[in-house]
Each structure stands twice: as structure tokens, then as C-alpha cells.
């Protein structure tokens, strides 16, 4: 069986939906953050597949940008979640309720 562009796009769409579902349903900040990374990687997969399909390297260059930015984002984000955990001893979104009108 040949693996065509559609297969890659379907896998990337499934990954993206799984990530989105996780962000909406999960209550732990770390798990939510992992799901967000899953969504970014779904986009990476789609970009690489389409770059190959179009015969144009721009998409693969974009993937490098995304990986770099995601690394920076993870560094900042995990530090933030750890700082919150130290303060509240919790990483659950239900406990983030100190900001109210």
C-alpha cells in the first residue's frame, strides 16, 4: 500500500483533534500542556507532508521555527506551572479562581 498525502493529513488531523479534546477535557495543567504540544506537532506533520507534496522547502523551514518556538514556550510554561505549584500545591485548573469580579 502506498502512503499518500491523505494518510499524513488524516493522521495530523486526528492528532490535532486529540490534542484539542485533551485541552478541553483534562483538568491537570501539565496534561493540558502536553496536549497543546500534541497540537503543535500535528501542524508540524501536516507542514512536512505538504512541503514534500508541493516540492517546496518553505514548509520544512517553518517546522524548524515551530520546534524552536515550542521549546521556548515549554521552558517558560513549565517554569510558570512549577511556580504556581510551589505557591498553591496544586496544578488543577479548578483551583485557579482567585481572579474574580
Amino acid at each position: 500500500m502506498d502512503v499518500t498525502l491523505e494518510h499524513y493529513l488524516v493522521v495530523s488531523g486526528v492528532l490535532f483533534s486529540l490534542g484539542l479534546l485533551g485541552v478541553i477535557m483534562r483538568r491537570n495543567l501539565l496534561v493540558i500542556y502536553m496536549c497543546l504540544e500534541l497540537m503543535l506537532n500535528a501542524a508540524n506533520l501536516a507542514l512536512v507532508a505538504m512541503s514534500r507534496y508541493n516540492g517546496n522547502l518553505d514548509g520544512q523551514i517553518m517546522v524548524f521555527f515551530i520546534i524552536t518556538v515550542a521549546a521556548a514556550e515549554v521552558a517558560v510554561g513549565l517554569a510558570l506551572i512549577v511556580a504556581l505549584y510551589r505557591r498553591r500545591q496544586t496544578a488543577h485548573v479548578e483551583d485557579l479562581t482567585s481572579l474574580k469580579s
Partner: protein, 494 residues
């Protein structure tokens, strides 16, 4: 690519790195004064930016330096200068690392300046992320305050989610168009206008940009983050990040996919109506000044989206003018909040009682900015709303939905009178003001406040020059580039 056209951004980045280095040799008690140095250096960069002329023939490159880009770069520089002065005032409330705070403001500024010039989806993504990731740190900078941490985490989750949407949208657009460049996509757009995957990609990108401007379906973060963040970070978020979102929105909608923008008029109209009503109605019961401004910023995003929905040149130049006035107005308001709320924890409106006796300048600046936000003459906000109304009603004969849009603009402005004037009433006519201890206002803050007041008055009383320069800047968006023309010709011959 010609790197000499990026010298303004390079100067800002070098300044930020230099600030981090200078921090190593500065004694602790002098560190907060580094902010004044950075503000002065940015003022020099601002003066330098007036030496630059728009470059016309760079449409195919990733980075353009047209009139629109220069207009927004100056806007960002002005706001960063005031925000730096504000942060010096705020320094006592951060336990450590004030130089990093200044440097992060400069890096966010560099991201905004790059975004003003973005002509390519990869530069768009990288500059948006540069802004967003620096703001994750800026919003949560007061690590010992739970509210600040919470604001940071909320901004982090929403920001990462919206950038995931945007990246997936870029992937879909790249897959269908085969290009990242806005001009290249514009050349392909007539064939792609019916392609569902391409349209889904554009929609996802708009969701990502809508997060930056706090437009309706992705606005939930704004009130919480505005309330919890350190005041200078809130001010920069409200002014710079929103303006960056709008310049990117203008470029994507009107340079890359003008056909799609014309198809989606109804969507844009509905979103701006909901955004205006949501922001204004939710702001009514608020007692926390920063949270109130958070909802008001949602409402203002709705007004600005009306200029986008109008799809004509007067709408776009109204957006530029409105943002110009908005910058001065909000910076004045946040500077006053930053100084007055030094002793109070909650930022409640009642803390403003008797402010006119404690410091007439602060009272005048805050009430002027509230009056300007409410859209009363003779200040900048009035003329901005007037221009938007004019642009929207101009389109009325084409589509009667625009009359509804104009009606919502007026209704929103009337609703907003209640809560903006409530703040003014708290300043001047409070029932039992506490005993008056005068607030000492340092001279850089005075300069910043007088600058903002002059800006509001100048834009309100003599709008012609700014409107003209906004018109010139907007003309750059519609210019058919050499590449577009060639691609059209080859498409027809086939």
C-alpha cells in the same frame, strides 16, 4: 533580503541585550534607573524612525517597510517608552529582576515591530510568538503574588492554544497555496477562494489573531489577565499586543486574502457586534479598575473590528487613527492606576475617592482618558468613533447589515458612558473621601502624563494630519505588487 531595512528592530534588540549586560555592573539600588536609560534610548530610536522613508518595492520579500509598518512601529515605540517609565514606578513592587522586566519589554517591542512588517506567514508566526512568549513572563512577573501567577498561567494556556490553531491554519494554507508569502497567496487566491481546506486554514489563522486582539469567541482570557498582571505589563498588553494583532489582521485580510475578506463580511459584522455588546455589558458591574479596563478593551476590539468589517479604505484608516488615540488614552489611564494603587491592594474604584485633592494632575489625566474612552468630544476617542461610524455608514447602501453595525456602535458607546463616567464620579464626587494625603508624582511620570494628555487633545482637536498619514499608510495595503500582476497575467494566458 536587505537587512539594512531592519535596523530599527536590530537597535531595539541590541538595546535589550545591552540592558541585560549593564545589569551585571549596576549596583542594586541603581538598577531601577536603567529603565529611564532604556526609555531615553527608545526615544532616540523613535526620532530616528522619522528619518526613514517607506520602501515601495519590497512586496515579494518576507519583510516590508511600507507606510503602514512605519506608522505602527512608531506607535509601538511610543507605548514602550511610557510603559518603561511606568515600570520604574512599579519597581518597588517586584521582589527581584527589574532589569529583566525592562529587557523583556524591549524584546516584546521588537516582536511587535517585526509583526508590523510581516509579509509572510513564517515571519507572522515568529513575531507573534516572540510577543506572546515574552508576555507569559511579563504577566506572571510578580512571582510572590498568586493573582499574577494565575494570570500568567491563564495567558499561557490560552496563548498556546491559539498559537496551535494559528500554526495548523498556516499549515493548511501552505498546503493548498504552496506559498508562505502574502503577495504569493494573493496571486493564488482567486483559484483558492472556493477551496474548503484553504478557507479553514484562514479561519484558524484568524482565530489566532483574534486571541491577540481579544475578539469574541477567544476573549475569555482578557479580564483575568488584565486584572492579575503587573500594571505595566497590563498596559503593554492592552496597547501593544492589541495593535500588533490589528496590523497583522489588516495585512492578512487585505494583502493576502482580499477575496476571502469580501466573502466573510457577515461573519466579521456578527463578530464585531457580539464583541462590542459582550465587552460593554460585562463591564457594567465591575468594581476593579483593571478588570473594567479588560472588558473595555474587549469592547474596543469590537469597535476596531467594525473598521475591518467595513472593508473600505476609510475603515482601515479609521482603525489606525483609533489605535493612535487609544494608545495615549490607555497609557494615561494605566500610568495613573500604577501610581495611585501603590498603597491599595485591590485596585477597587473606591480607592480613587478624593483623588482630585490628592493630586490634580492624576485626577485630570484619568478622567480625561475615561472621557476619551467613552467617546465624548473633544478628545481622541470621539473622533475615532466618528471616523468608524462614517466608514461603516458609507457601506450602508451596499449591505443593510452595516446600518445595524452603526446602530450597535452607538448603543455600545451609550452603555459605556455609565461605567466610564462612574470612574470620573468616584474621583470627583465621592461621598466620604478619606483624608487627603497628597501623592508625590515623579517628574518622568509627569512628563509621560502630560505627553499622553497632549496626545489625546491633539488627536481630538487637530485630527487632520494624523488622518492624512493614516490614509497614506493604508494605501500601501492595496498596492498591486509587480508579482501579483505577473501571476494574474500568467493565470489568464493558461
Amino acid at each position: 533580503m536587505n537587512y539594512s531595512s531592519m535596523m530599527l528592530e536590530v537597535a531595539v534588540v541590541v538595546l535589550g541585550l545591552g540592558l541585560l549586560l549593564a545589569d551585571l555592573w549596576t549596583p542594586i539600588e541603581k538598577k531601577r534607573n536603567l529603565g529611564y536609560g532604556a526609555a531615553i534610548a527608545l526615544a532616540l530610536v523613535l526620532i530616528w524612525s522619522f528619518q526613514w522613508k517607506p520602501v515601495e518595492d519590497s512586496l515579494q520579500s518576507m519583510y516590508v517597510l511600507d507606510g503602514l509598518a512605519l506608522f505602527f512601529k512608531r506607535l509601538f515605540l511610543v507605548s514602550a517608552i511610557v510603559v518603561l517609565i511606568m515600570s520604574v514606578e512599579f519597581a518597588a513592587r517586584m521582589e527581584a529582576g527589574i532589569s529583566e522586566f525592562y529587557a523583556l519589554i524591549l524584546f516584546a517591542l521588537a516582536g511587535m515591530m517585526f509583526s508590523a512588517s510581516a509579509n509572510d506567514f513564517s515571519l507572522l508566526f515568529v513575531s507573534v510568538e516572540l510577543i506572546t512568549v515574552t508576555f507569559y513572563v511579563l504577566t506572571s512577573f510578580q512571582r510572590n503574588r498568586l493573582a499574577s501567577l494565575e494570570a500568567g498561567v491563564k495567558y499561557l494556556i490560552f496563548g498556546a492554544l491559539s498559537s496551535a490553531f494559528m500554526v495548523y491554519g498556516i499549515a493548511l494554507v501552505f498546503g493548498t497555496a504552496g506559498k508562505m508569502n502574502f503577495a504569493g497567496i494573493a496571486a493564488m487566491a482567486p483559484q483558492l477562494a472556493g477551496n474548503k481546506i484553504f478557507l479553514l486554514g484562514i479561519l484558524l489563522i484568524l482565530v489566532g489573531l483574534g486571541f491577540k486582539i481579544a475578539a469574541f469567541p477567544v476573549q475569555m482570557w482578557a479580564p483575568d489577565v488584565y486584572q492579575g498582571s503587573p500594571t505595566p505589563a497590563t498596559a503593554f498588553l492592552a496597547v501593544g499586543s492589541k495593535a500588533a494583532g490589528f496590523v497583522l489582521l489588516l495585512r492578512v485580510l487585505f494583502t493576502a486574502v482580499p477575496e476571502v475578506a469580501a466573502h466573510w463580511t457577515t461573519l466579521l459584522i456578527v463578530i464585531s457586534i457580539i464583541t462590542v455588546l459582550y465587552g460593554n455589558l460585562c463591564a457594567l458591574p465591575q468594581r476593579n479598575l483593571k478588570r473594567l479596563l479588560g472588558y473595555s478593551s474587549i469592547a474596543n476590539a469590537g469597535y476596531l473590528l467594525m473598521g475591518v468589517a467595513a472593508l473600505n479604505d476609510s475603515g482601515k484608516s479609521a482603525i489606525l487613527y483609533y489605535l493612535g488615540g487609544y494608545v495615549f488614552t490607555l497609557l494615561a489611564a494605566f500610568t495613573v492606576i500604577c501610581v495611585v494603587m501603590r498603597e491599595v491592594e485591590g485596585e477597587d474604584i473606591s480607592a480613587l475617592a478624593g483623588l482630585n485633592q490628592r493630586s490634580p494632575l492624576l485626577a485630570a489625566a484619568l478622567s480625561m482618558s475615561m472621557v476619551s474612552l467613552a467617546g465624548l468630544p473633544p478628545l481622541a476617542g470621539f473622533f475615532g468613533k466618528f471616523l468608524l461610524l462614517k466608514a461603516v455608514t458609507e457601506q450602508g447602501p451596499v449591505n443593510s447589515a452595516y446600518y445595524w453595525l452603526a446602530a450597535v456602535l452607538v448603543i455600545g458607546a451609550v452603555i459605556s458612558l455609565y461605567y466610564y463616567l462612574g470612574v470620573v464620579r468616584a474621583i470627583y464626587w465621592s461621598k466620604n473621601p478619606p483624608k487627603a494625603t497628597s501623592i508625590c508624582v515623579s517628574w518622568p511620570v509627569q512628563i509621560a502624563l502630560y505627553g499622553c494628555i497632549i496626545g489625546m487633545l491633539y488627536l481630538g482637536l487637530f485630527p487632520n494630519r494624523v488622518v492624512e498619514s493614516a490614509n497614506r499608510a493604508v494605501a500601501a495595503l492595496e498596492r498591486p505588487g509587480p508579482m501579483t500582476a505577473v501571476a494574474h497575467a500568467s493565470g489568464e494566458s493558461r
